[in-house]
Each structure stands twice: as C-alpha cells, then as structure tokens.
C-alpha cells in the first residue's frame, strides 16, 4: 500500500502542492485528474523519487521511502513521450529493467515475450523503436514498465500524444491489464474520460490541493464544488444568493428552490448546478431563447441566449423560446 503523507512543494514562493495526502491500496487504480500545470506530474515525480518535496514523505507498506533513491523504489513509470531508449531495439528496451535486476538471460527472454504479448506486440523484439508508430511505441513503453512486475505503476499522461481512436483502444487494453495484474496504479491525466474509464477512485487536484476524492460515480453525483462541476462538465454552474429559508436561491436567471443538506443563512452566496437533462418530476425550470444547437450522437445540446444549456432528444427551432424542467442542486 502506497501512502502519501502531507506533501508540500512550492515554486518561486507560490504553492504548487499544499498538504497532499492520499493512499493507494493493493490492486487499486487511482486517477489524478487536473488541468495542465496543476502540479500532478510533479506529484508523480515526487512519488517516483525523481524530485524532492519541501515537506512530507512517501511510504510503501509502512516503510518510509525518503532515503530510497528512485532506482531502488521498484515503481514503474510510463511517460507521455514514451522515453524509449533510441539506441536499443524493442527487446532491449523491454529487457532493460530485468537486466538491471541481474535476471538470467533465458528468464529475461521469457519475460520480454510475455510482456510484449500482454500489450499485443508479439514478435516485435528485433524492431527498432524509432521505426514504430506512436501507439506501438507507447505499448513498448508499457511492456517495459510491466516487465519488471513493479509494486506500483505510474502513468504520466501516457496517451496524450495519441489520436482519439488509438487512445480509446489503448485505454481499454490498459484497463484489462491493470485488472489482470492487480498492480496498484496511479494514472495522471487531464482527460476525465480516461480517468472515468480506468479509475477505481478519482482524485481531482486544483489550486494545489485535492479538491475531491471518490469513485467516478460518487464524484459525478456529488461534485461538491463549482470547480469540479465545471471541470467535469456536469452542467450549468450558476452563482446565486439565498433569499429565504429551505432554500430559495435567487440568481440572474430565476429563483430556484433547492434541497440542501448544508446550513445556509439568508443573504449567503452559493453556487448551483443545473443538470442539463430534462427531469419531469423537478420543480425548477430553466428557460431561454434557443441561440445554438449542437448535435451530440443521440441528443442535441441546446444553448440559450443567456448562456445556459440543456440536452434534448429532439432539436427545437432556433429563436424559439422554451423552458425545461431540470434538477438543480446546491454546490455550497
């Protein structure tokens, strides 16, 4: 079990990581989700031992790793730009970690073959890595990290450089591999789809703290903050002010009634989330003049002139004034 204890890191006086703590349990995959530059890659490098933190420490199975250099941590790392060794062929790249561990030659061959099989690159041993496509290179990088059977796998935006279709394929394979090998993994990405596909648990990093930590379903159902709701694109985030008890909130669009477990007082500023899907049973309504319609596979995203949007099964007409019943919740 990996434990991250109160990690602090500042650059030029500005905090980048501010008291970050979490743990990764055996067989668990967690995704660190955040905008680019939110410090998630730095956090990964700190865990790998490639960078020092200002305070806090990393432990694995209750052993403090502070004085353990990166090459003795036995954490596999997969980079966005693959970082394959250009002077070695596929076989020697995958075998690299095994050679460092002084494994016997015939065992290495077996392990390389089985690792390449895991990523669907059977028979690629003698190829030059510089001749491979981006997707193939990333598979080699994955095989290289898997070959040593590390006690933790870390991915730093590994699919960022690949095109969409390839990304989905690799993502599904990766999901299968992580399930089968049961190696605990930390996956860093800014792409929520990737995060939701892979993660047992999602950690959203923003403004140098972990804003939300939970299963994908939990995080979507209860984003708990305006940033998370916006970042995940869960719906319209509206600023408002509590006007009377239980709980009427006045906004620039209309007055909404929300069920809320928080204790609010009159005059308090709050953020509301208006989900875009129509919900017949709800009391709240958002309305406006249709300004734009965007086709989305099975639905239409309908954007009003006031900036709000809903997703409908049938497209209205442009310029039409419509109102839709939706679920509105309080984000505090």
């Amino acid at each position: 079990m990996l434990e991250v204890h109160h990690i602090f890191k500042t650059y030029e006086g500005k905090p980048l990581l501010n008291d970050i703590s979490f743990q990764v349990n055996t067989g668990e995959t967690i995704c660190l989700l955040g905008a680019s530059g939110s410090g998630k890659s730095t956090l990964l490098r700190i865990i790998a031992g490639l960078e020092d933190s200002d305070a806090g420490f990393i432990s694995f199975n209750n052993i403090d790793l502070t004085s353990t250099p990166p090459h003795l941590r036995d954490f596999g790392l997969v980079f966005q730009d693959y970082a394959l060794f250009p002077h070695l062929n596929v076989n020697d790249n995958v075998a690299f970690g095994l050679k460092m561990r002084r494994m016997e030659q015939d065992k290495i061959l077996q392990r390389v073959a089985s690792s390449l099989e895991m990523v669907n690159l059977q028979g690629f041993e003698k190829r030059k890595v510089t001749d491979l496509s981006g997707g193939e290179q990333q598979r080699v990088a994955l095989a290289r990290a898997l070959a040593t059977r590390p006690r933790l796998l870390m991915f730093d935006e590994p699919l960022g450089a690949l095109d969409r279709a390839l990304r989905e394929d690799l993502l599904n394979e990766l999901r299968g591999i992580l399930h089968r090998t049961e190696i605990p993994a930390i996956y860093v990405t800014h792409d929520q789809e990737e995060a939701f596909t892979l993660a047992d648990r999602v950690l959203i990093l923003h403004d140098s703290v972990i804003l939300r930590d939970g299963t994908p379903a939990d995080v979507c159902a209860n984003p708990e903050s305006a940033f998370v709701a916006k970042f995940l694109g869960l719906g319209n985030v509206i600023d408002g002010e509590v006007v009377s008890g239980k709980w009427k909130v006045e906004t620039e669009h209309s007055v909404f009634t929300v069920n809320c477990s928080h204790k609010h007082s009159k005059g308090e500023k709050v953020h509301l989330l208006a989900r875009p899907l129509p919900a017949e049973k709800e009391a709240n309504v958002i309305q406006g003049i249709v300004a734009d319609i965007i086709f989305q596979q099975d639905r239409f995203k309908v954007i009003f002139d006031n900036g709000l949007y809903v997703t409908l099964e049938e497209a209205p007409k442009l310029g039409q004034k419509i109102s839709v019943k939706v679920k509105v919740e309080c984000l505090a």
């Binding site: 650059y11 030029e12 500005k14 980048l16 905008a35 680019s36 530059g37 939110s38 410090g39 890659s41 730095t42 490098r45 790998a48 490639l50 250099p69 990166p70 090459h71 003795l72 941590r73 036995d74 954490f75 596999g76 790392l77 980079f79 730009d81 970082a83 060794f85 250009p86 002077h87 070695l88 690299f96 970690g97 460092m100 561990r101 510089t130 290289r144 990290a145 040593t148 923003h206 403004d207 140098s208 903050s225 305006a226 940033f227 916006k230 970042f231 600023d239 500023k269 953020h271």
Partner: protein, 568 residues
C-alpha cells in the same frame, strides 16, 4: 466563491523549476568545463588575433600604399566571388528544381554525387581538374591539337567554385522548393496566371529567403576560398587569402598581411551576420504530401535527361580523371629510366615509397602520408578532449554559455591562412616544432566537433535517464547504458570530422609546416608545382589516396551521425 483556473502560473512554475535545476549547477563545475577549451582558444586564437590587430592598427601599416593594394585585392576578391556565386546559381537552381520536383532513376545517387565535392579537400579538387583539363590532363591527351589554357585562368577558379558549392543551392533551395505547397501554384493557375507568371509572382517570392540565404553562403565560401585559387589560378589572382599567403611567404610584408586578414575577418563577420538573419527568416509552408512526380511529356523528359547527364558528367569527370591519371602515363614521359612510355603504370604509387636524391623532399613521399595520419590522429584526440567539456556545457546553456558560444565559433569565421599568420607572428620561434600543425588543425576542427557532439548530448532527454532509473538503473548504470551508447556514435562522427578536416587542411598548414614534415596536401601542392611527368603522376597518386581516405570518412560520418541531429 467563483474559482478561477490558473493554468498559466503553475505551468510557468514548472518550467521555471526546470531552469532552476540547471542554473543551480555550481559555478565551479561550469568553470571546470570551460577551462581547457577556453585557454586553448585564448593562447592559440585570441592572443595571435590580438597580435595581428596590433600589427594592423599602427601608422607604419596604415600607409596609403598598403591601403591601396588592400583595396585592389578586396575588389578582386569581391569580383570573383560574385561571378562564382552567379554561375553557381545558374547551375544550382535548375538542379534544385530537378531534385525537388522529379522522381527518376539514380536520383539519390546523383544527389549524393553532387554533395561529395563539398567535403573534399581543395587540393584534391584542384588536382582533379588538373588531371582533366590541365596541360598534362586527359583532354589534352585525347585532343593534342587543342591549345586552350585552363589552368591559370579565372575560368578554372570559377568552375571549381561552381563544382564545390552547387550542392548548397541544391540543398537549401531544393528543400524549400520541395516543402512548398503545390496548392499555391494550382491556386495561381486557377486565377489565370500562366506558368511563367506563376514562377515570377508566386514561387520565386516564396523561395526568396532560401535563395538569398544559400547565395550568401556560397558567396561566403567563394570569398574565403584559398586552395582552389592558388592551385588552379595561380598567385597572380590575388584574392585576400592568396595575397596574405604571398605577403607571408613569398614577398614578405607581414603588416600588409595583417591588414588584409583583418579586412577579411571583418567581411566574413558581416556576411555571417547577414546569413544568420536570412536563415532565421526562411520559413516556408510545409507541403502536406510528397510533390515528386515522374517526368511526363517530351519537355520534362528532355529537361530531366539533359540536366541529369550534365550534372553527372560535370561532377564525375574531375573525380574520375584523378585516379585514372594516377594510373596511366599519357605523355612522352622521360622518367628517370630515360625511356618513353605510355599506358597503364603503378610507378607513380611505387615511386612514393622511394627517397630519390634531388626529389622535392628530403624524405620518401609516403612519409607525408604518415605525417598526415599522425597529425590527424593528434587533432582527433586534442579536439575531442577540448570539445567534450565545451559541448557538455553548451548542451545545457546558462548566461555564460550564451556569451561563450559565438566566441567558440569565431575561428570558423577566420580563414585558415589567417590562423597560420597568427601562429607565425606570435609563435614564430617555435615553428620548427612539428606539433604546432595539429594545434592549428584543432582550431579549425573544434567548432565542427562541438557542433556534432552538442546536439547529441542535448538530445538525451532527462526523461530517458528518469525512465532508466525508474526501471532500476543506478546513476552509474544510467551513464553506462544510456548516455555512453548514445554519445558513442556522435563521438565517432565528431572524431571522423576532425580526422577529415586535418587530412585535407591546406591553408594554415602551407604557412606553418616545416619542409621536412610535409602533409599530403602540401606534398601534392609541391609535386604539382614541379616539372616532370613523374612528379605530376605522384601528385595524382597522392591526391587519389587523399580522395579515397576522405570518401571513406564521409561514409563513416554519415553512418555514425544520428538521423535527426543538427546540420551546420
């Protein structure tokens, strides 16, 4: 509270952190990196340069007579360089078009052939043209009645310059042309422009930056050319370089020589600045797909066939005349045996091993080859010892390196003859020592060595090292398994560069080498300037050897260089 995402700040912070890590590298190690290469340059380049400057800027030097002769020399240097550049463009532009737009059999071979002269030592090229068109050359032997003079004319100089530099136009303009999106031309045509107007109004303006840049580079090489002018034209064609040489060795006037070399240095600096500016501006739209076509129609087929034939004969003729002439007696050659012979002979080669009384040398001519190899070996070792630390420091530049980088490259801008002059003025009393020659060669080779090593060192991303250490490699194993193997190829390429440069170096060596320690190029020059068929044949034989050595080196460099490492 409305939360604002502040990508920018934290992203900058991460970038800053990377820079920070570099600049934390202690000053002490930086100084250790630089101490050897810098002291070498100070002692052997900047100090002699200051001596030259001191000699130039005093009243005894800046006389009306000196200034007048300097002006005439400068004028002629310009004149021949402009003429050469224009002629090079005349052959280079159609060739660039040929290579950029057409696909034909033997294309890559022809392209490689046009690039070969650029790497060849000047003495080899001069000997090649001599073997083809000289008074004892092939053409004279085949058409004995023809009484045209080639050697000793301006034409010879110009043609050799075209021979040398056409590849620059082909490369630079050809690359720009092939990366030019043909849609521009289609668009112009669809707007009603005929093919001439398309070229004049669309293609040429788009090619202008690369045209100007390549012409500037060709001009620079023609302006500073020495060996070709001395060996094919003779000392009556006094360009700056030739005149410096004359004023050092033949009609001594060191202060005029110093004045000329300062003018020369200033000119090359100005031209280099122009060139750098032009290069930084030359960007063209990238073509999305290959624009190569097979020639269609009579006009295109004729163009491709005629030009390909012209190019291959122009580039092959001197290069093949040389080895041919080194193996065949063509004239009534009354050698030492007193009998007249024609036809195939290996005498010129076997004669290289014999130390004849009354010959040009005090030693068997093959000794020149051994000298050259020894000097080249010393140059390789010296330039690697100096080049490695400099390249390491330059691969992760701080403010210090931004200042030092142009200083390190400065010897590239000064001519070899000037380096020789500096040595003579400053270290004249030690000229009897043979080890000054490899020092001069190292000065010439060092910029190339650094420019070969530096991108290789810089191209090892920190990520590769991190990946290796996350796979369990200790710092020592990272160096052994990542840095070293990647650098090995670049080191071999750099070493071969230094070796080739030293083998062919002519200008500086001519000034500072001792008669009893000739190098191959010096031996060739002396053989060529002597009467007698045997001497001529030995010049051919030596030049052939040098050509072969250089060709092997070119092949090795191409093999070792990483496919995407920098060019010059």
């Amino acid at each position: 509270m409305v939360q604002k995402i502040s990508h920018g700040d934290t992203e900058n912070a991460e970038i800053l952190n990377k820079n920070l890590r570099v600049s934390v590298t202690p000053w002490l190690t930086r100084i250790l990196f630089w101490i050897l290469p810098l002291s070498f340059l100070v002692v052997l380049f900047f100090f002699p340069l200051s001596k030259i400057l001191a000699l130039t800027f005093n009243l005894q030097t800046l006389t009306l007579g000196n200034l007048q002769s300097a002006f005439h020399v400068l004028l002629f240097t310009f004149y021949q360089a402009v003429l050469s550049t224009v002629l090079t463009l005349l052959l280079g532009l159609p060739s660039a078009y040929l290579f950029a737009r057409f696909d034909f059999r033997g294309k890559s071979l022809l392209r490689a052939l046009t690039a070969v002269p650029f790497m060849l030592p000047t003495v080899v090229v001069a000997a090649g043209f001599n073997a083809l068109l000289g008074p004892r050359g092939l053409i004279h032997a085949l058409f004995p009645l023809s009484s045209f003079n080639f050697i000793g004319t301006l034409t010879a100089i110009l043609i050799a310059h075209v021979f040398y530099n056409t590849t620059i136009i082909i490369r630079v303009v050809g690359n720009a042309l092939s990366s030019l999106d043909p849609k521009f031309e289609s668009a112009a045509r669809s707007l009603g422009a005929d093919s001439i107007r398309v070229w004049w109004n669309v293609v040429l303006p788009l090619l202008r930056p690369s045209l100007l840049a390549s012409s500037m580079l060709v001009f620079l090489f023609d302006f500073t050319s020495f060996g070709v002018i001395l060996l094919l034209g003779g000392s009556k064609f006094s360009t700056l370089e030739v005149e410096i040489y004359l004023r050092v060795l033949k009609l001594p006037n060191l202060s005029l020589a110093a004045l000329l070399s300062v003018i020369q240095l200033l000119c090359t600096l100005v031209f280099s600045i122009f060139y750098t500016r032009l290069v930084s501006r030359s960007t063209t739209q990238l073509a999305p797909r290959s624009t190569l076509v097979k020639p269609k129609g009579l006009k295109q087929k004729l163009f491709v066939a005629v030009l390909a034939f012209l190019l291959s004969s122009f580039f092959l003729a001197p290069l093949s005349a040389l080895p041919f002439r080194s193996l065949f007696r063509l004239e009534a050659d009354r050698g030492q045996r007193g009998e007249v012979q024609y036809g195939f002979t290996t005498d010129y080669y076997s004669e290289l091993f014999i130390n004849r009384r009354g010959s040009v040398f005090y030693v068997p001519p093959i000794q020149a080859t051994l000298n050259s190899l020894g000097y080249a070996g010393a140059t390789v070792i010296l330039s690697l010892i100096l080049g490695f630390p400099a390249a390491f420091a330059l691969a992760k530049p701080t403010h210090l390196e931004k200042v030092l980088d142009p200083l390190i490259m400065l010897p590239l801008g000064s001519s070899a003859v000037m380096l020789g002059l500096g040595f003579i003025i400053t270290y004249g009393k030690w000229l009897t020592l043979p080890f000054l020659v490899p020092f001069a060669h190292t000065l010439v080779a060092l910029p190339f060595v650094i420019r070969t090593l530096q991108p290789a060192i810089a191209s090892i991303p920190e990520r590769l090292r991190q990946a290796a250490s996350s796979l369990g490699a200790s710092p020592l194993e990272v160096w052994k398994n990542i840095d070293l193997p990647i650098l090995r190829r670049a080191t071999l390429a750099a070493a071969t560069f230094a070796f080739t440069i030293s083998l062919g170096e002519f200008g500086a060596t001519l000034l500072i080498s001792r008669p009893e320690y000739p190098t191959i190029p010096i031996a060739i020059e002396r053989f060529l300037s002597q009467p007698g068929g045997l001497n001529y044949g030995q010049a051919m034989a030596m030049a052939t050897l040098l050509m072969l050595l250089t060709l092997i080196s070119i092949l090795l460099i191409e093999k070792f260089r990483l496919p995407n490492s920098g060019e010059f």
